[in-house]
Amino acid sequence: MSKHPLQYLELSRRDPETEIPEVRIKHFDEIYQSYDGAEAASQAGRCISCGIPYCEWKCPVHNYIPNWLELIEEGRLFEAAELSHQTNSLPEICGRVCPQDRLCEDACTLNNGVGAISIGNIERYITDEAIKQGWRPDMDNVKNSSKRVAIIGAGPAGLSAADILARGGVSPVVFDAYPEIGGLLTFGIPTFKLDKKVVKMRRHIMEGMGVEFILNTHVGKDKSFSSIYDEFDAVFIGIGTYQQINGGLISEDLTGVHEALTYLIGSVNQQLKITDSNNPYIDLSEKNVVVLGGGDTGMDCNRTAIRQGAAKVSCIYRRDEANMPGSRREVVNSKEEGVDFLFNKQPIEIVGKEYVTGVRVAETKLGEPDENGRRLPELIDGSEEIISADAVIIAFGYLPNIPKWVSDHSVNSRSNGCIEVAPKDHLPFQTSNSKIFAGGDVVRGSDLVVTAVFEGREAAKSILSYLSV
């Protein structure tokens, strides 16, 4: 029971092997290996089980991290998987795509130079391995309430809501316009970060829990929202954000300028052999590619382009490296794979006639922090230059694009275009229409997968309470 108290000092942090850049850029498979059981156990055993689990505090879903670390150390895999699912509906996915170095692992007490616990990799190991060994969520004691809830959008918020509802004895039916579940998990995130087999397995598990998926169904086009609204006991909207933020740059419509999402989806479609006229495959091999934006989406574009065989990939960001919003790990991966970063450069104009030929940028310096504490870049006069390019990807982020059927059902939105939830006397994530709930990016604006998971789960708890089950 009692372990060696100084294990964390004597055994240093060790992440699973990463494929070397020269090899991994030749394919689209995941670059990290997995722990084996012994490694997972010994790394988990480094946890000192703090009186205040800062990791759990910082985690948006508040995973019981020290507790499942201990279970893994003791080799109790299925219990760890069970516990992991108590706070997170998609732990194997979060283990892959969360920026742990900004969240749990950043907060880890041992991140004071000793070396934080490799929480993400262990999280991923737990569910991957448990599923491999036959673990499935225990639904034995669920009493079915005969209530049904429609979920619009099979992204992380929707899936998480479905998970909680199914466990609560409510039958969830998930609608999605795409041919696969996952939303951006499937289509937005490159396969080298998240193998789509993982999402498929999750679908399999959820169907086993009684979740019904109705795919290739665009609500509002293929099926009217009103019919859904009337048929179900409650509705959850988790349709995400797909409206690209316009950089306001001159000549954004030149040929060779691409939206990040369209580009990424096209690439995934190509791998999954899906044809989708809205998101065609964009081949940037041999191209001189410039990616605008320093978030995780930007990094995904960088690395996709590298793998497509781009001649050169440059990433332009208006602040310095320390102030980048994306995961540091992804920046490192990009650099290793050959991406050239240009910091403190503000894009002003896309240059070219019909085809793009470059991006005009200006040098910046960081000014005073704004009300959120982030330092705003200020332009330095006379510092403009043109970076040549024959393909430009714009990755400035996304805004929600609320369909009309939402407002038609007296669901209010906020000024920034997001759906408003929890107005006075309403439950968390309940909209102004009591029967309709919403969560994820459509409520917050584009954010992390894990926050969408959290909101989907919390919304589902409200639905259970609304339905009195």
């Binding site: 703090c50 009186g51 205040i52 466990r167 004895g169």
Partner: protein, 1485 residues
């Protein structure tokens, strides 16, 4: 009610007293005035054991109980024209000074005399001189008369006295409530009492009778009181009618409650019907007076006083394997019918036939006796209470633990302990009765099926949710108990809200705070002194004490009250109970209300008991839809009280089958409120589930291990209150309730202290309904918990991630704005402490910040809390000291000594702590302190000791603590020199002798009654008092101690402040509080509640980088704050003194901000101004039902009385004249380092002799500076307590005579020699020459005593070398270094907790194998072949002993060394190498 009407927190029930006592008797019953005169003179020589009130004249009371002086009384009666018959009685009666009331009471007494058929002879006004009294005694002075009663002809003395008893009781019941003056001090034909609120030297001047030569008696008890209160109460002076008592009756609450429950069993043919005299045993007054009542009724019913006393205060017979089986049977038989009244107690008692003295099983009070040639025996707290020529002494000795010594005045015999046993064991065929009647339940060795019918998984989860089991609890509490057989250890404090403040679902058990002993009585070490403790539980029917039949032995005996499935089944199937039990379902419909449900349960219990069922099973085992379980604790308390009230409780037993009992505290609560035994079925089911999931070693018997863990926990909880036997704990209600409404307390827990209201039945109902809802919901998992560790959405923690990270950011950057953010987080948190419901109200208009006193003046009021080097890393410890010194505040060394290189610079801790382990406490350590703090208790684990595990004892720590690296160090639960309040006074006196410049501070933990304790502490001459809250931190403590003991400081501080003002003591002492103080606002509130100084523990630690990881006990603190690991300290410790300076400066600035806002110029304007506190209504229903008015009440306020300390220091009454005289004679030889020889006469009232000189030497030259030029002090006579305390090198004390307790306490060097006078005719090797607890905490030096030492010789010795000729019990306990040679018998439990050093014991009677504690030590013979070194070492010590003491016995041994050598044992820690003992000793020297 307005604030002014509210009653404060003081309750007379909280008062304690303790004292000096004694008895003188002529064995042949020869009367003389000499006996009376000597008794009174002896009393004077015990003055230092009593206390003096603020007027300087009133004592706490003293008195004598004189064997009936019939000649004298007859003579003075004649003077008063009273006609007496041949046989008569007299009584001392206190009456109202107002004639009318006095006459009324006299009439009552007269009529009861008549009622009993006795003749009133008359009244005599007792001549007194009131001018002797101090003002406060004068104010309450009664009119005192003697009443004379004639005995009818032919009536036996027994009958006469029985009737006099009835007269007194009947009269008392009539004038009770009528008049508070009236009191019958004695009424008997056997004895008469003279007592009052005067100092001992005033007693004979007050009662003129006492000076009258005609007053002759053959025996006399005397008593001097030290009370924690000063409101004079004449009636509370002792002796009572039969006894005088030194110490406390720890078990008093249980004893009183059971006395009520048993009331109908006090019937006896002799006494007749006495049902009108209830309560027989007083529920108020002092514990001793209740004991006196009990003794009286037993006697009146025809039992001999000696037998009665032995039944009430038995020795620790259970574990005594050497005890005669017949006497064991006697004790065992009576244990079925009377629980022990356990001390610490030294009792002297007397009736017409016997005069006797006895000690309780722990022997924590001293009792020394002298028998002289003229057949007078004197027994007293001290030896040498009168001057007898040494050559007249036949015998001197002491009473051991659990022993009794008696004089049979009728037969003229002195009865030893064994002789007394021989007398009482033959009263009945106890052994045969027990053999026939007792049934033992045995568990089979293999008990693998812990739950015979395991629940289905989902059923189990439903149950776990219904009873609010969390995953955290399963992991941290239940499975730890079941796998390690003990509680989990944790660190840091409890920073969660009390349940009444919480917004989460909390267990009703959480409202109960365990009481613990501090100062007035000691806790027991349940690990090292297990021999005195027992959990034995008898199930059967309790019967009358006075009927002796075999039927009374029909009992089932179990060794623990925690039942296994097996035992429960055996019980249910047993012949005795098979058809004699009733099942009562605790589940009730959700639609009824809680109170009616409990009433239904009580009614069912009543019916069952009346039907003759021998046990009642209260059960929540069978949950049903639509029903919820009444909480087992509420049900148990309610049923117990209901049955007690009906006189049915002793006819039946309460077995509780419940899912709510999970940790030791839960079991303690159930038993404390009356449960006979508990069957925790849900635990067994949960453990079965754990085993099913394969989480544990399947071969382990989890249920059995769990029960063992709980048993240890129960021992610990009982020992905190100093209670040895579970039967004395059962029903004793030793808890404080914080936050339950009186509607619950009165119905279920009546009599328990509960002061602030709160949660009502309806709230508990809501909680249980919510649990029921959750248990039935689809949500499958248990809640994570969060009570111990922070978890999102769990219980609120005051030290949460936001608070910690913001504070650390603030102190690191020095940014005050960030501090403000932090302060806002704290000040605007959800209500988590009582002070969060208080808001300061301005004095007037706000003032400008610059008009407020400067930061510097506020900073000096800040102390850092005692945190030892050992708990903290040296870097953190020094950073803290440097910071505090730089800002002019004080840091606290904590327990564990201090490196002398820190004494004279900014790394010095100005406060030096002295705790129960006395680690590193030397004269030099003490003289380098500004404040010496005696840590009585700490908030995280009051009433408990501690242990520094071996892996934390590195070279540095070992050196400072005079120990060996890698060897674990134990801090005992009690200070072994503080078993009562006058002992604390003695320690304070010792410290003030060694360092007259230092202030002495006493650290207490808040609990009900802490106010009266503090009053006692002030009267013991402390200069400062710290009141800690329950939320204090710790480096390591069992979890249930962190969670369940101690009260919020708001209650404790306020109670202390109120009581001190009430007693006119507040101005004499500085009050400090600590416990979770975080911001300036906290300081403001603490000031308003009465504190003038403020302690911070966790705050500055967090400032130094602590992240509240709660892993201090593992020595792996990742922040390098609380670890000794080199790598962690050097690489990861980020703390700097500046961070601490920032922390305190911020808080001081914050205080200034608040003062300005409140319109106060300085803190003094608001200290003690509870009128400036506005109570807030609270956020939740239960918070709104709180009544915090007692905390801010002002009923104690006296117009113009000081609200804070105005005295510079609190100097003792005893000026230590001999010590000052010694200093003036030796000073130049100290200053010039010349040494020399000096001689003085010494008496028992010359205390701490040597300490004054040692302190002076240490101050000038350090511990070892005089080693080459010693000062030799020759003393002649009897030394008072603490001879040679904190002795240093070069200080040699040579005493001819004998000495009292604590010789060589804290000795660090030099030599103490004690030898009998050459004229003495007694045999020194069989005679006690020094008292108890000698060499406690010694770190070096030599002691040679030609005679026996008392109990606990060389306790916690870490370096002294001693030779004595016999020792009492518990010798060498917790010893870590040094050598002890015992040339004679030892008591039991030798070497318990001994981790270092060694001993040689001469075992002539071959008994030692059974006497030593086998846990940590082993013993070896010295054989010349392989133990040459020991042979020579021992011989050289014996030679030295002869050289210094001329011991005849040692000479005899030496003459025949080879043959005696074969009878010696070498005693050493198991871990130590036999061969290296002497070498390592040399290295240490």
């Amino acid at each position: 009610m307005t604030k002014k009407d509210a009653k404060g927190l003081y309750d007379p029930l909280f008062e304690h007293d303790s004292c000096g006592f004694g008895l003188i008797a002529n064995i042949d019953d020869k009367s003389s005035h000499w006996v009376v005169k000597t008794a009174i003179n002896s009393l004077k020589r015990l003055t230092h054991r009593g206390a003096i009130s603020a007027d300087g004249k009133s004592g706490d009371g003293c008195g004598v109980l004189i064997k009936f002086p019939s000649e004298f009384l007859r003579a003075v009666a004649i003077d008063s024209n009273i006609k007496l018959d041949a046989k008569f009685a007299a009584g001392t009666v206190f009456l109202n000074p107002k004639k009318r009331m006095a006459n009324k009471v006299k009439k009552i007494i007269e009529s009861t005399i008549k009622q009993e058929g006795l003749g009133l002879a008359g009244w005599r006004e007792v001549p007194i001189d009131a001018s002797v009294c101090g003002q406060s005694a004068k104010d309450t002075l009664p009119h005192i008369e003697q009443v004379y009663v004639n005995c009818s002809e032919g009536m036996s003395n027994e009958t006469f006295n029985r009737k006099l008893f009835l007269v007194r009781r009947r009269a008392e019941t009539q004038f009770e409530g009528l008049d508070e003056f009236s009191y019958i001090a004695s009424l008997s034909s056997d004895s008469i009492s003279y007592k009052g609120m005067v100092m001992p030297d005033g007693l004979p001047r007050f009662y003129l009778d006492l000076l009258d030569d005609r007053l002759e008696a053959s025996a006399c008890l005397f008593h001097q009181r030290f009370s924690t209160n000063t409101l004079p109460e004449w009636r509370l002076a002792q002796p009572f009618r039969f006894l005088a008592h030194n110490g406390e009756i720890n078990t008093i609450q249980g004893n009183r409650n059971w006395a009520i429950a048993r009331a109908q069993h006090f019937y006896s043919d002799d006494l007749g019907d006495i049902s009108d005299l209830k309560p027989i045993v007083s529920m108020t007054g002092s514990d001793s007076s209740s004991l006196d009542n009990m003794l009286e009724i037993m006697q009146a019913s025809g039992m001999s006083i000696i037998q009665a006393m032995r039944i009430l205060i038995p020795p620790a017979w259970q574990a005594d394997e050497m005890m005669d089986s017949e006497i064991k049977a006697f004790y065992e038989f009576y244990s079925c019918h009377m629980e022990p009244w356990d001390g610490p107690a030294g009792i002297v008692l007397m009736n017409g036939r016997y005069a006797a003295c006895c000690l309780d099983r722990n022997g924590l009070r001293p009792a020394r006796y002298v028998l002289t040639k003229d057949r007078h025996i004197t027994i007293a707290s001290e030896i040498g209470v009168y001057d007898y020529p040494e050559e007249d002494v036949i015998k001197k000795g002491k009473l051991g633990p659990g022993e009794m010594l008696a004089v049979d005045l009728l037969k003229g015999e002195l009865l030893s302990n064994d002789q007394i046993h021989d007398h009482i064991k033959v009263g009945a065929p106890y052994q045969k009765w027990l053999r026939d009647g007792f049934r033992y339940l045995d568990s089979k060795l293999i008990d693998r099926t812990i739950a015979a019918e395991p629940m289905e998984k989902e059923t189990l989860i439903t149950y776990q949710k219904m009873f609010n089991v969390s995953r955290e609890e399963i992991k941290e509490v239940i499975s730890v108990l079941a796998s390690t057989e003990q509680e989990a250890v944790g660190s840091m404090g409890d920073d969660t809200p009390m349940p009444v403040l919480s917004k989460k679902l909390r267990s009703p058990f959480d409202y109960f705070r365990q009481q613990f002993a501090q100062v007035t009585n000691p806790p027991i070490d349940s690990l090292r002194e297990r021999v005195v403790m027992t959990l034995q539980t008898n199930i059967g029917r309790t019967s009358g004490l006075f009927e002796l039949t075999a039927k009374h032995a029909e009992q089932i005996i179990i060794n623990s009250p925690i039942l296994s499935q097996q035992k429960l089944r055996q019980l249910l199937r047993s012949e005795m109970f098979g058809d004699s039990h009733a099942f009562i379902d605790l589940n009730f419909p959700e639609t009824t209300d809680y109170l009616s449900a409990l009433k239904r349960i009580c009614d069912e219990a009543e019916v069952a008991a009346k039907a003759g069922n021998l046990f009642i099973m209260l059960s929540d085992r069978y949950l049903k839809p639509g029903m919820i379980p009444a909480h087992a604790l509420l049900a148990t308390g309610a049923v117990h009280h209901h049955l007690v009230g009906l006189g049915l409780r002793c006819s039946t037993n309460i077995i509780v089958e419940t899912g709510v009992a999970r940790d030791p505290h839960h079991f303690a609560c159930l038993i404390g409120y009356g449960a006979t035994a508990v069957y925790p079925y849900l635990i067994y089911q949960s453990l079965h589930d754990l085993a099913r999931r394969g989480n544990v070693d399947r071969t382990q018997q989890l249920g059995r291990s769990f029960r063992r863990g709980i048993r240890k926990g129960l021992f610990k909880i009982m020992s905190k209150m100093g209670i040895s036997c579970l039967s004395s704990y059962r029903g004793a209600q030793l808890f404080e309730i914080v936050g339950l409404h009186s509607e619950i307390v009165e119905f279920c827990f009546s009599g328990t202290v509960s002061r602030i209201q709160g949660t009502k039945f309806s709230d508990l109902m809501d909680d249980q309904k919510e649990l029921a809802r959750l248990s039935r919901s689809n949500e499958q998992s248990l809640s994570q918990g969060g009570l111990l560790k922070y978890v999102y959405d769990g219980e609120y923690h005051c030290y949460n991630p936001e608070v910690i990270s913001t504070l650390q950011a603030a102190v690191k950057t020095g940014n005050y704005q960030t501090y403000i953010e932090y302060a806002d987080l704290v000040n605007h948190r959800q209500v988590s402490t009582l002070r969060d419901l208080m808001k300061p109200v301005p004095l007037g208009d706000s003032i400008k910040l610059e008009d407020v006193e400067p930061v510097q003046d506020i900073l000096i009021r800040f102390d850092s809390a005692g945190m030892s080097l050992g708990a903290l890393s040296p870097e953190a410890h020094e950073a803290l000291a440097i910071a505090m010194n730089r800002i002019g505040a004080r840091s606290n060394s904590g327990e564990g000594g201090e490196d002398p290189s820190r004494y004279k610079n900014e790394r010095r801790s100005k406060i030096k702590q002295i705790a129960s382990g006395r680690f590193g406490v030397t004269a030099e350590y003490l003289v380098n302190a500004e404040v010496i703090q005696i840590k009585i208790a700490q908030g995280a684990k009051p009433g408990e000791g501690g242990q520094l595990p071996g892996h934390k004892v590195d070279n540095v720590i070992a050196k400072l603590r005079y120990a060996k690296p890698g060897v674990g160090l134990i801090s005992p639960p009690p200070h072994h020199d503080i078993y009562s309040i006058e002992d604390l006074g003695q320690l304070i006196f010792d410290l003030k002798q060694v360092n007259p410049d230092a202030l002495v501070s006493v650290k207490l933990v808040a609990e009900p009654g802490v106010g009266t304790i503090a009053a006692g502490v002030v009267k013991a001459y402390a200069d400062l008092i710290t009141i800690s809250g329950y939320d204090g931190g710790t480096g390591a403590s069992p979890l249930s101690s962190v969670k369940y003991a101690g009260s919020p400081w708001e209650l404790g501080l306020s109670e202390v402040h109120q009581v001190l003002i009430k007693n006119d003591l507040r101005h004499k002492v500085r009050l400090q509080t600590d416990g979770g103080l975080k911001t300036g606002l906290d300081v403001i509130k603490a000031a308003m509640l009465g504190a003038e100084s403020y302690g911070f523990g966790t705050g500055p630690m967090v400032a130094l980088g602590c992240k509240y990881l709660r892993i201090c006990h593992l020595n792996n603190c990742a922040t390098g704050v609380a670890t000794q690991n080199n790598l962690l300290r050097s690489e990861y410790f980020i703390g700097l003194p500046e961070m601490v300076i920032n922390f305190f400066t911020f808080i001081a600035e914050d205080v200034r901000y608040w003062l300005a806002k409140l319109g106060a110029k300085n803190l003094e304007d608001i200290i003690g101004r509870t009128d400036l506190i506005e109570l807030l209504p609270g956020e939740t229903k239960r918070q709104k039902n709180l009544d915090l008015r007692p905390i801010i009440a002002s009923d104690h306020l006296i117009e113009g009385a000081p609200r804070f300390c105005t005295a510079l220091r609190n100097d003792p009454f005893d000026k230590g004249e001999l010590a000052e005289n010694m200093l003036s004679q030796t000073l130049s030889s100290i200053q010039n380092k010349t040494g020399g020889d000096f001689s003085f006469k010494i008496s028992n009232f010359n205390r701490s002799i040597g300490a004054r000189l040692s302190g002076e030497i240490a101050r000038i030259h350090g511990n070892d500076g005089m080693i080459d030029t010693p000062i030799n002090i020759n003393l002649n006579g009897t030394a008072g307590q603490s001879l040679g305390a904190f002795n240093v090198s070069g200080m040699n004390l040579i005493l001819t005579g004998d000495a009292n307790d604590y010789v060589g306490k804290g000795m660090g060097g030099g030599r103490i020699i004690i030898k009998p006078s050459e004229k003495a005719e007694f045999i020194p090797k069989d005679t006690v020459i020094i008292g108890n607890t000698c060499l406690y905490g010694a770190t070096g030096g030599h002691l040679f005593a030609s005679g026996h030492a008392g109990e606990r010789f060389a306790v916690r010795n870490s370096g002294a070398i001693a030779v004595v000729e016999g020792v009492g019990d518990h010798c060498c306990e917790y010893m870590t270094n040094g050598v002890v040679v015992v040339l004679g018998p030892t008591g039991i439990n030798f070497g318990a907790g001994m981790t270092g050093g060694f001993a040689y014991v001469l075992d002539l009677e071959r008994k030692f194998v059974d006497l030593y504690n086998h846990e940590l030590i082993d013993i070896h013979r010295i054989t010349p072949e392989n133990m040459e070194a020991h042979l020579h070492h021992l011989r050289s010590l014996i030679v030295e002993h002869i050289e210094y003491t001329d011991s005849k016995w040692a000479q005899e041994i030496l003459q025949d060394y080879r043959s005696y050598l074969a009878k010696f044992w070498v005693v050493k820690p198991k871990a130590a190498e036999l061969g290296s003992l002497i070498t390592s000793l040399r290295e240490a020297a």
